[in-house]
Symmetry: C2
Subunit: 143 residues, 2 copies
DNA sequence: ATAATTAAGGATATTTTTGTCCTTAATTTA
DNA sequence: TAAATTAAGGACAAAAATATCCTTAATTAT
């Protein structure tokens, strides 16, 4: 479904979004500890998220990463798209090079609804939704 | 979603299931041509499907692969499970080691419905469904 | 200014996935 | 029986994904 890189990215974004007001910045070390991910690899992912304007980074003591803009306006779909690209949204379930309604793969008639369900969900779930649940102890970023 | 290996496997199974009555066997060469896949790699996949009792193979002239049993009783879910394992059905969307309803990941409340939708579809779509559409020119195994 | 802290980025390493090649085994046809 | 055909299987290769290490750059605190 999602690449491992993308899963780390999603959890990292949620963690940063879950930080308390007044202390909205977390270091690489904090983040990879919070989501239980390899630190150096996570660094690369965070760099990519900064490049893609989903995070803002600050160097130096008390530096770290914070959400770029409002968490309530960042949707899962943007993170997935940033890391994994749009293949999940637009690619063929069976890997056909070209997907046209007039030349559908063998699972298209069944798969279309699921893809729409999935992309609808990703486009309607924002970071605040998920961060709130983490803060309320309803959901978790690591096991 | 599915590994490339799994996509090849699905298309290959559908192709074999689409063969006309009385000639229900196809060679590796036929199959990889029909689904536009690398021959040697496809050989490995077909071997695995034979090992998993989804296909039957016969060596020698006019040998090849045929569906083991009734195509109408083989569901997409079996192929996916055989090749990719059950992680798509049971694994965590965000990669948490353990998934428990009491310790859900941050997307669980949104993801659960989609996973059920997907697994429901995979468990209710059989090879005959798809092979018929291919035979009727409604769907295609390659581009 | 200096030292300490933290992210950026390049190089490299490991693992997994995808893919190829070649030899052997089984079966059929001549 | 011999030759041809086709799958099985082992060894290897290439590419992609995942992961680590080290140096540099920026910022802050002393
Ligand atoms: S039609 Fe088939 S090929 Fe096109 S997107 Fe749907 S799943 Fe993919
Ligand atoms: S709860 Fe989260 S962790 Fe468990 S399965 Fe659902 S998605 Fe995965």
């Amino acid at each position: 479904m999602f690449s491992k890189t993308c899963k780390y990215a999603i959890n990292a974004m949620i963690y940063v979004a879950s930080l308390p007001i007044g202390n909205e910045r977390a270091s690489l070390k904090d983040i990879s500890k919070a989501i239980n991910s390899p630190e150096a690899f996570t660094a690369k992912i965070l760099q990519a998220l900064v490049r893609d304007d989903l995070l803002i980074s600050v160097k130096g003591p008390h530096g770290g990463f914070s959400i770029n803009g409002k968490a309530s306006e960042i949707y899962l779909a943007q993170i997935v798209d940033s890391i994994d690209g749009n293949l999940l949204f637009t690619g063929c379930a069976l890997g056909l090079k070209k997907c046209a309604e007039e030349h559908p793969c063998a699972v298209h008639y069944k798969f279309k609804a699921i893809r729409e369900h999935l992309t609808g969900m990703l486009h309607s779930t924002n970071l605040t939704d998920m961060a709130d649940r983490v803060n309320n102890g309803i959901s978790f970023l690591k096991y």
